[in-house]
Structure formats: C-alpha cells, structure tokens
C-alpha cells in the first residue's frame, strides 16, 4: 500500500494548477459561460499543450498516462478551477472508447485529440434511458454492407463542437458502437446551454448511413467496454467534483473569515464552525472513496463496479451537502450568478445528474454486493 502520488503526477498536478490559476479566473470563466460556443478554444489549446489530454491516454495510444490516478489528478485540478471545457467528453469518454475498442484506422484520430485539434462526443443516453447503460433504442440496420442508424440521443455533451461522434445503437441483440463524423447526412443537432456550464444537444439520427469501417466493436458486444469506459469517466467526474468541493470550501472559509455579522466575523459563530467541520470530514470521505474507485479501475468487473457505485453514491450525498451548505453559509451573495461559488456549487450538485445519481448507484451497489 502506498498513498503518495508519483513524481510525474505531482508535477502534472502542479503545472495544471498554476496554468488555471493564471488563465481561468472568475471573470474569464463567466465570459466563457456566456459565450455561444460554451468553451474557450484558447484554453483548450493551452490544456493540450500542457499535456493534459495526453495524460489521459496510455503510451500505447500515444499518450503518457491513462491510469486511474492520472485521471484523478487531472480532473481534480480542472474541478478546482470550475473548468467547463469538454475534456471529459472528448478525451475520457469518446476518446477512451476509441482507444479501448477502435480499429487501428479509427485510433489515428487520437493523435489529433491529444494535440487539441479534434473534439469528440459520445452519443449514448436516450430520452427513455435515464442512467441505464443498456437501454438503447437507437437501431443499427445493416443492408447490403451499409449501416443505417436511426434514433434519438438525449443530452449529448459537447455535441455542437464534436468533429466525430461515438454513437451506440442496438444490433444483434446487444449494443454496437460506431464512429460517426459530425457532418454525416441524417445526423442533426439541437443544442442548448447547461446550467453548470458547457453545452449539450439532442441528437437525431435519421437513417444515418455508415460504411462497415465505422464499426468499433463486434456487433452487439459493446456493453462491457462502455461500462469500463464509463467507470473511468465516473472517476474523472468524481475527481472533478472533489476539486470543486475543495474550492467551495475554500471560498466559504475565506468568506466566513472576512464577513462581519453582529460585530464579528462569521467564522467565530460555533454553529457555522461545526458545520464547516462536518463538511471537511465529509470531503475526506469523498477523497477516500475516489481513491478506492480510481485504485480499482483495473480490478475485475464486479469489484471495479462495486467500488465505482460505492464512491459515486457517496459523492451524490456529499456533493449535495457541500453545494447546499456552502451556499447557505454564504447567504445571499452565493445566490448571484456572477459569484465564483455559484458556478462551483452548480457543478458540484449537477454532477449527480451524470453517470447515475445517488439512488441509482445505491441500487446498483446492492445488486453488485448480492452478486
């Protein structure tokens, strides 16, 4: 057992933190939030140059990391700064799927992803699927060697910016994955902003025609790889949320220390002190759960998913606590859109709406524990 970061990871963490402290203050981020694109091309290039995207891929795929703790280190820093750029969707989710199961031709994309030139999106969830991974009604129909995809994908993150989509569809009694260029005929997008920043879209696939080379896995066999990549994405998102919680608590501590009420700083009120102590204690639990999850990404499926669900369930509860308490302890100021905490708290709380919420993972943890 060893709980120390390697020197490389510590360096990456430090560099990324400095970059973001320098480039990504509240004003800058609020401008990005208000922009049509929903993220900054400049920041994106900066992250790529720093090697942040490369750190999420293994050496075999052209990166220099890709382990659970690489993901955790990068996303904790992104979360700390409330970064809305689509690193998770492009690199961990869609990029991760290509790395895990793409053909060698498809894998050629990864180089430009790592270089920051290509954006990706994973179109998987559907209006009826909620958080279930195996509920896919989009259909892949093969006739005369050509594949046609028909269906609707819900709340697809980064859809407008994506150059390519990884799309899931029902086929051969299971789920298949396809790599679909964004400009393919029949694929249409209705985009909108998200309350915690960034943009998503409803994606309609109206008989989207694809060659056999678009196929990523053997027909109907994609579910295990989707689950494995989702596990990595969940670790990324939890790390991001942990970073955001650190920021929420830091801002709240600073506010309590300076804001005067009834002639003394809020930090001297014991009721608030004890609630702050509880928040700090819960954050240690969250960090420990994240370590458990990241440390079991290479374990067998049941063990891996049990740790993922235990951790994500805990993050649901703790995230709500930290998000709500940091707003409440501030009072009115935290209710304003332009205040740093408002954005951070929204990211923390809305994290429960991706990759399964607290109850969904509770149910899953029970099922996995009984198995």
């Amino acid at each position: 057992m060893n709980f120390n970061l390697t020197e490389e990871r510590q360096m990456l963490s430090d560099t990324l933190r400095r970059f973001l402290a320098d480039k990504y203050d509240t004003d800058r981020r609020n401008k990005i939030l208000e922009s049509d694109q929903g993220y900054s091309t400049e920041i994106w290039s900066g992250l790529a140059e720093l090697g942040v995207i490369g750190a999420l891929f293994s050496e075999g795929d052209g990166g220099f990391g890709g382990g659970g703790f690489d993901i955790a280190v990068v996303f904790e820093e992104l979360g700390r700064a409330g970064v809305v750029e689509p690193v998770l969707d492009t690199a961990v989710l869609a990029g991760g799927l290509i790395a895990a199961t793409g053909s060698s031709a498809q894998k050629e994309l990864i180089e430009s992803v790592i270089g920051g030139e290509t954006q990706l999106a994973f179109a998987h969830g559907e209006p009826q699927s909620r958080y279930d991974l195996d509920n896919v009604q989009t259909v892949a129909d093969t006739q005369d060697g050509a594949i046609a995809l028909t269906g609707r994908k819900a709340v697809v993150m980064n859809a407008e910016a994506a150059d390519h989509f990884v799309v899931s569809a029902s086929e051969a009694g299971g789920i298949s994955l396809f790599l679909v260029p964004a400009d393919t005929d029949g694929l249409s997008i209705q985009g909108y902003p998200l309350i915690s920043g960034g943009r998503a879209a409803e994606v309609t696939l109206d008989g989207v025609k694809l060659p056999e080379t678009a196929r990523m896995t053997e027909a109907g066999k994609a579910l295990p790889v989707i689950e494995a990549v989702m596990a990595r994405a969940t670790v990324a998102q939890m790390a991001e949320t942990l970073g955001a919680m650190e920021t929420a608590v830091r801002i709240t501590q600073e506010y309590l220390g300076t804001r005067q009420q009834f002639g003394r700083p809020l930090a001297t009120f014991q009721a608030l002190q004890h609630r702050m102590a509880e928040m700090l204690t819960e954050m240690q639990q969250a960090r420990s759960a994240l370590i458990n999850a990241a440390g079991h990404l290479e374990a067998d499926r049941n063990e891996r998913e049990r740790h993922i669900s235990a951790a994500k369930g805990l993050f649901g509860r703790i995230g709500r606590l930290i998000g709500e308490e940091s707003i409440q302890m501030h009072g009115g100021i935290a209710m304003t859109q332009e205040y740093e905490l408002a954005h951070i708290a929204k990211r923390i709380i809305m994290a429960d709406h991706r990759f399964g919420d607290e109850d969904w993972h509770l149910e899953r943890f029970l099922a996995l524990s009984a198995a």
């Binding site: 909108y192 309350i195 009420q261 709500r320 409440q328 009072g331 009115g332 859109q337 332009e338 709406h353």
Partner: protein
C-alpha cells in the same frame, strides 16, 4: 380538537373554487405550474381579478377595505390556489407595508396609499437589506438627513425583489447616526421616480432576474412620507416581520410542488418501471409527504392560535425552518426525478438560450427552481437567524 371543516368552511371553499375556475386563465396557470417567470402584466391581471372579488386584501380589517378572513379561510384559499396553480399575491404592498401603515401610519397616509395598493396604481418593493448587513439587519447604513421639508437619502439597498416593476419603495433608513444600532432608524416611503434612485438588476444563479440593487444618491423625500415617528422605524420593522405569518410555512407552494413531483415520477421511466415505483425515490417522496402532512397541521394550529390572539413568534420561526426544508426537498426531488434532463439551462440572461430547452416531462425549469429556492432558507431572516431566535427564547435569553 376537530380537524374537519364546518359547513360554512365548505361553502367558502366552493366559492374559492368557482372563482378560480372562472378567473384563472389556463395559460397563466400553466406558467405558474412550470415555474416560468410571470410578467408584470400577469401579476397585475391576477391582483385585479382578486380585487374585483374583494379578495385581494385577505388579511386587512374590513374598515380598510379588506376581506378580514379567518385562519381557516386563509388556509382554504392557500390550498385551493396552490392546487389550481394560481399566481401568488405579491406581498410587498398588501401584506408587508399595509399592516404597518394601518397600525402606525397617519390617517392621511392610509387614505392615500391603501386604495392605491388595492387598485394596483402603486407597485411597492421593500428596501430593508443592504450589502454590508445581511442577517444583521440593524447594522444598516443608508442615511436620511432632514433638510427643511425633505429627507435627503443616500445609500444602497439590495435583494430588492421585483424592484424592477416597482414605482414605490418602503425603506429603513438611518436618521440618527449617533444612536445605538437599533435606535436611530426610520421607516420612509420613497417614490422611485425621484431623481437619484437607480435600480440595477442582480441575476441569480438560476439565470433569473427577480432581485435588484437600489441605489440612492441625494434623493429628496418629502417629510410626510415618514411613517410614524422618526427613529422608531425598528419597532415598525419588527412589527412587519412578526405580523405576516399566515404563509410563512409555504404549505400551498409545497402542496403544489408535491403534486408536480408525483406527476413527474409517474411519467419518468426508471429501468422499465415508473420512477414512482423505485423504492429509494419513493422513500424520499414518502418522507417529505409525511413531513408536509404534519407541517400543514402545524401551520393551521399556529394560524388558529394567532387568530385567537396568540402570538406565535417562536413557532413562526419553526414554521419557516421546516417549511423551507420541505419545499427545498421537494424541489430537489423534482430535479432528481428528471435525471439527465435536469442539466439544460433555461436562463433568461444567457445568449442563445432563447430557444426552448428539452422538457420531455413537462416540468418547466425544475433545476432553476431548485437553485432559486435555496433563497428561502436565506432571505427574510435566514434559518440560522430563526434558530438563534428559538434558542434565545427557549434557552433563557442566552444567545
């Protein structure tokens, strides 16, 4: 003890129901149900409909043109209005300023201002909070200096709800800077069209514009706009804070929110079944419904006690705490229910978001409402302040 309605109560309920079904336009109810921002015209329409029926000033004594409803009647209206998705009555003139004028104002003030509140000629907003004060209201700094027949007002108010629609604001201002905190404060009525008054929007974290900053720069206010005596404003402010308790628990809002959650949870698919049948979600919902059933009776008990001359200051604080918890929990459940569809942002303030966002469960901006309603445990005396009050009373004056 008797929990049932009398014949008269039931007849009154029928009256309320038929009024609502007659006057509440479906488009307006729809807006309320989906939590969409109401326009000034929407609110004015509803006030005018109630006023025509004599039901706008529900708690005013009859001598001032009020309906003077008893506790049960107020409860019945609240319940029926929530069930029908009627807009809430904007409280600033009707149930905040008016009781203060009726108790402490001059006859001239009452004769002039009260009819204008009923007719909608004046739209009032509240100038209490200041940027530096927060829960510590008495530390306010906005100054009013007497010069001849006027006060000259300088300072800044904040969190002024619907101030963008208002033409009048009632303010707490410091008239004696040398007095101790809670002394030296006066209660002043200010015309917002006076030169030097400036309203600046505050956009809340859900993207809505409902509160404002109001700035005063050398604003001239006629001395006849002083309510009661100079430097006694704190007494009036406290009266205002403790007077309007009828809806402090927000039972009507929570009742409506509960029916929304149930409707949505029946419509959402959760792994092949309605989410309503998911035991974990169902447990959350049942727990908050149990709380609401108790809260509703708690609220009625207190209204009944207040009506019978009781003074439930302590219980009002408890109602506010529990009422906010119940309502916030219900808002949490609605956003929870819709899963990934909780993420789209329906902000008024954001570019590119004038397009409709996807809303497959016909629930409106559930996430926005969740975030917006974090305010109900903060504004109007935070839950922490309420707990201080309870502790002060029950632990023997220590705080």
């Amino acid at each position: 003890m008797d929990l049932s309605y009398s014949e008269e109560d039931l007849a009154f309920r029928d009256e309320v129901r038929s009024f609502l079904s007659e006057k509440l336009k479906p488009e307006l109810a729809e807006k309320v149900r989906l939590g969409r921002g109401l326009t000034k015209e929407d609110m004015e329409y509803w006030h005018s409909a109630l006023n025509s029926r004599g039901w706008l000033a529900q708690n005013w004594p009859k001598e001032f043109g009020g309906a003077e409803w008893n506790a049960v009647q107020r409860h019945i209206y609240e319940e029926e209005a929530a069930r029908a998705d009627a807009p809430r009555i904007v409280p600033f003139g009707l149930s905040m300023l008016a009781p203060v004028l009726q108790k402490f104002g001059s006859k001239e003030q009452n004769d002039y201002w009260l009819p204008r509140i009923l007719s909608g000629e004046d739209w009032w907003c509240q100038g209490y909070s200041e940027p530096g004060a927060g829960s510590d209201l008495a530390s306010l700094k906005t100054k009013a200096v007497r010069e001849g027949d006027h006060y000259i007002v300088n300072g800044q108010k904040t969190w002024t709800t619907l101030g963008q629609h208002a033409n009048m604001i009632f303010c707490l201002v410091r008239t004696d800077p040398s007095a101790k905190q809670q002394e030296g404060i006066s209660f002043l009525l200010i015309d917002m069209d006076t030169p030097g008054v400036e309203v600046r929007p505050i956009i809340l974290l859900d993207g809505t514009h409902e509160v404002n900053e109001v700035w005063f720069t050398d604003v001239k206010v006629p001395v006849e706009n002083l309510v009661g005596e100079e430097n006694k404003g704190w007494t009036y402010a406290k009266y205002l804070l403790t007077h309007e308790r009828a809806n402090i628990a927000g039972v009507g809002f929570s009742t409506a929110a509960l029916s929304t959650v149930k409707r949505v949870a029946k419509a959402v698919n959760d792994n092949g079944k309605p989410l309503m049948q998911n035991p974990h979600f169902a447990a959350r919902l049942a727990k908050v419904e149990m709380e609401l059933m108790a809260l509703s009776t708690f609220n009625m008990r207190m209204i009944a006690a207040a009506g019978a001359g009781g003074a439930p200051g302590l219980e009002a604080s408890m109602l506010k705490i529990k009422g906010s918890e119940v309502r916030q929990e219900l808002n949490d459940l609605t956003r929870r229910a819709i899963g990934p569809y909780a993420m789209p942002f329906a902000s008024e303030a954001l570019e590119g978001s004038n397009q409709p966002i996807p809303d497959p469960f016909d629930v409106g901006d559930a996430t926005g409402e969740y975030f917006n309603n974090r305010k109900i445990s903060i504004f109007g005396g935070s839950n922490e302040i309420q707990k201080n009050i309870i502790a002060k009373v029950t632990l023997g004056g220590r705080a």
